[in-house]
């Protein structure tokens, strides 16, 4: 299928990883097909791993529900206040759950040297990154699918427009998953990674968080000023920036 260059003569270089620059005799269509196959395989693999260890996913769902309960305790039983901030609670619960999910997603790769095997399979680095980021997006959407009804039930908030909420959840989950997957890979071998990952991640996803919360709250409380489309557009812009930037840099992270 692919044109494999074989190990380079220089022993210090990583052995049989595919080069970033496509060999002259490989067509663009072939390259894209190769990337697509790798990506699909990684998504499938990650979701399968998650499914096999589904007790952990259930624990994660439980965690997000508990966080939502805690917010209600912190704010008090005033249902007006709770309903007004329901969007914010949902996203903070998702964000906190995401750091646990993301750290584990890369941990399983690094622990047993699976990442090296994946690279030698060979799967190209961008395919690994986008595959893992997509799988994490799917998992975050699953967490959101459980957390959203719980959030609505606990706070008494109501949804005026459902499609924008769903769109905000998918875009927001993608906005957390790409930088999150990237930084999880960067810190996977670092001591104190459980602290570092949220520290690295939180400053960066502030714009995405802001836009997601705004879009969610507006679709819950109603949008008389018509601001919803611009917040969703901002969220989409953020996604595009971080998905491309992280995809570009991921190769450096895995090969060092």
């Amino acid at each position: 299928m692919s044109v494999h260059p074989g190990p380079p003569a220089d022993a210090s270089a990583p052995p049989a990883m595919l080069p970033l620059v496509r060999p002259a005799d490989q067509g663009l269509g072939e390259l894209l097909r190769e990337l697509g196959t790798g990506l699909a395989t990684v998504v499938q693999k990650d979701l399968l791993v998650e499914w096999r260890a589904r007790a952990q996913l259930v624990a994660l769902l439980g965690f997000s529900v508990v966080v939502l309960l805690l917010f209600s305790f912190a704010v008090g039983p005033d249902s007006n206040v709770l309903a007004r901030h329901a969007g914010g609670y949902l996203w903070l619960a998702l964000l906190l759950a995401s750091t646990l999910l993301l750290a584990r997603s890369l941990q399983v790769e690094v622990e047993s040297g699976a990442l090296e095997s994946l690279l030698l399979a060979p799967v190209r680095a961008p395919a690994i990154f986008y595959g893992k980021a997509m799988a994490n997006t799917v998992l975050l959407v699953i967490v959101a699918a459980v957390a959203l009804p719980v959030d609505l039930a606990l706070t008494g908030a109501q949804i005026q427009q459902l499609p924008p909420v769903l769109l905000a959840i998918v875009l927001g989950a993608a906005g957390i998953a790409a930088p999150g997957t990237f930084y999880a890979a960067l810190t996977a071998r670092v001591a104190g990674r459980q602290l570092l990952l949220p520290l690295l991640l939180f400053p960066l996803i502030v714009p995405a968080l802001l836009a997601s919360v705004k879009a969610t709250s507006l679709s819950m409380a109603g949008d008389p000023m018509g601001q919803l489309p611009s917040w969703l557009a901002l969220l989409a812009c953020f996604d595009v920036i971080y998905w491309s930037l992280c995809g570009l840099l991921f190769e450096k992270v895995v090969e060092t």
Partner: protein
């Protein structure tokens, strides 16, 4: 060789301090008081020159990080670190000065104005770059992680810069040559130049110590691996 960089750093530092002294003297005693804020407005000369310089040093750090990541020389790793450190110090000063200025003008030390918020977010992002650097032992990975995190943090800078335009905010519109009268522009330009020279001087000095540190580390024998207290690992599950 190294003594040349020491001299260079020292010259820039002293020059910067002198120019800064001139600029701040002008700003404090020569320039007319601000029409609305009176003497409080004089912090403007410090604040704006700190703000622009923080951006400038972050920009330099970004360039150094790109070169370090794709060029892979140890000298550029040290350069990136030195520039990020200077940028971060300026960023932290910016937040303090902003708070001091906000209290008499707006009545509060801090507001959740988007521009203030993004400046704080920017400080946090670069702080973590420096933290990350301290926590990675392996030189190649550390150099890569520093460069990568610097590049990503830099994406935040334009968001800070344009946040005034993106969101309606309490912060006054950004100052530029068009909005400042010339008796005020001159002390600002001098203060800016002074802060810049001081920053360059400190960067050179810091680059020198960091290069020496990296070189000594490369020569030192490897220590046996000791688990750090921070490393609460998943591996405990496997016991």
């Amino acid at each position: 060789m190294t003594s040349r960089s020491y001299t260079l750093g020292l010259v820039f530092t002293l020059l910067g301090l002198m120019v800064m002294a001139v600029g701040h003297y002008q700003g404090l005693f020569v320039a007319p008081p601000e029409a609305m804020m009176g003497d409080v407005g004089r912090i403007f000369y410090v604040h704006v020159s700190t703000a622009i310089n923080a951006m400038v040093f972050y920009l330099f750090a970004f360039v150094a990080a790109v070169v370090s990541l794709w060029g892979g020389r140890r000298a550029w790793d040290a350069t990136t670190t030195a520039l990020v450190e200077v940028g971060f110090v300026l960023n932290a000063l910016l937040l303090v000065q902003g708070s001091l200025w906000a209290r008499p003008t707006w009545g509060v030390y801090w507001t959740w104005d988007p521009r203030l918020t993004t400046s704080a977010v920017m400080a946090a992002a670069y702080f973590v770059v420096l933290l990350l650097r301290r926590l990675i032992d392996q030189p190649a990975r550390r150099s890569m992680a520093t460069a990568v995190a610097t590049i990503i943090a830099f994406v935040d800078v334009p968001i800070v810069y344009f946040s005034v335009k993106w969101w309606n905010s309490l912060h006054q519109p950004m100052s530029s040559g068009k909005t400042i009268d010339s008796p005020m522009l001159v002390p600002l330009a001098i203060s800016f130049a002074g802060t810049f020279l001081l920053g360059v001087g400190i960067t050179v000095l810091r680059w020198r110590t960091e290069t020496a540190h990296l070189a000594s580390e490369a020569q030192a024998p490897d220590l046996p691996e000791v688990p750090t207290p921070l490393d609460f690992d998943i591996q405990h599950d496997r016991a």
